[in-house]
């Protein structure tokens, strides 16, 4: 193993090393996670719609009671994690397809990561705050 990992001694050709890694340089892991999060969101879709419907017409106090209940909080947080991950991968594919300037592409992918993580973290923090009644 260690011998083949040493770059100078590697028997693998440069083509062999990059083959199947694609534009994202990460192989098929994003492809798999995109499908995984898609299936997760499809399963969570109905519960999430029910939760949003339940909060319709209620004021903040009422919304806090609904969003702060354990099953609702868990459903919402699972959905947020799946959607943030899914949209981060999806937007990266769009960026890789349309942004051909290498530096601009890296900056765009970085901003995409920042946005997706920030939205997810803010939403999850809000739910935890509601649940803990702080």
């Amino acid at each position: 193993m260690s011998a083949s990992d040493t770059p100078k001694r590697s028997m693998r050709t440069p083509l062999g090393r990059v083959r199947n890694l694609g534009a994202a340089h990460s192989g098929t892991s994003d492809f798999w996670r995109q499908r995984l999060t898609a299936v997760a969101m499809t399963l969570l879709m109905l519960p999430v719609i029910v939760v949003v419907m339940m909060t319709l017409g209620s004021n903040q106090a009422g919304a806090k009671v609904i969003l702060g209940s354990l099953p609702v909080a868990i459903i919402m947080m699972l959905f947020i994690v799946a959607s943030a991950w899914h949209m981060k991968i999806g937007m990266q594919v769009v960026i890789e397809d349309y942004v051909h300037n290498e530096k601009l592409k890296l900056v765009s992918i970085m901003l995409n990561n920042f946005f997706s993580i920030a939205v997810a973290l803010a939403s999850i923090y809000a739910i935890i705050k509601i649940s803990s009644g702080v």
Partner: protein, 112 residues
């Protein structure tokens, strides 16, 4: 059918739309009841309702169109008529589900 670009466009719209979801949750968690009223005032306005309606459709269409892609990933539905059926099912299904959700929302009296 050039529906893959619609899948992509709805995906981008949903990406931006998560800001609305985050705003709603943060306002609900906020210490001031007015913060939540502001969200309700926005989503209750004509523009707000149009945005949320559009968001509902983008979500339903993207989900069904995604399931269509999933069927293809599994190796089914590649015949010409099957492709057409799947595509139309996603198109029509997305609109039907969106209208159904909004009828239920109005029926339970949530949308004032």
């Amino acid at each position: 059918m050039a529906l893959s670009i619609v899948h992509r466009a709805t995906g981008i719209a949903l990406y931006v739309g998560t800001l609305l979801l985050a705003w709603w949750l943060i306002a609900a968690a906020s210490g001031s009841a007015a913060a939540y009223s502001n969200v309700q005032a926005f989503t209750g306005s004509i523009i707000g309702r149009l945005i949320v309606f559009g968001y509902t459709w983008a979500l339903m269409h993207h989900m069904l169109s995604g399931i269509r892609h999933f069927v293809w990933d599994l190796g089914f539905g590649f015949k010409a008529n099957e492709r057409e059926t799947l595509t139309w099912a996603a198109l029509i299904g997305g609109v039907v589900l969106t209208i159904l959700i909004w009828i239920i929302a109005y029926a339970i009296g949530g949308v004032r």
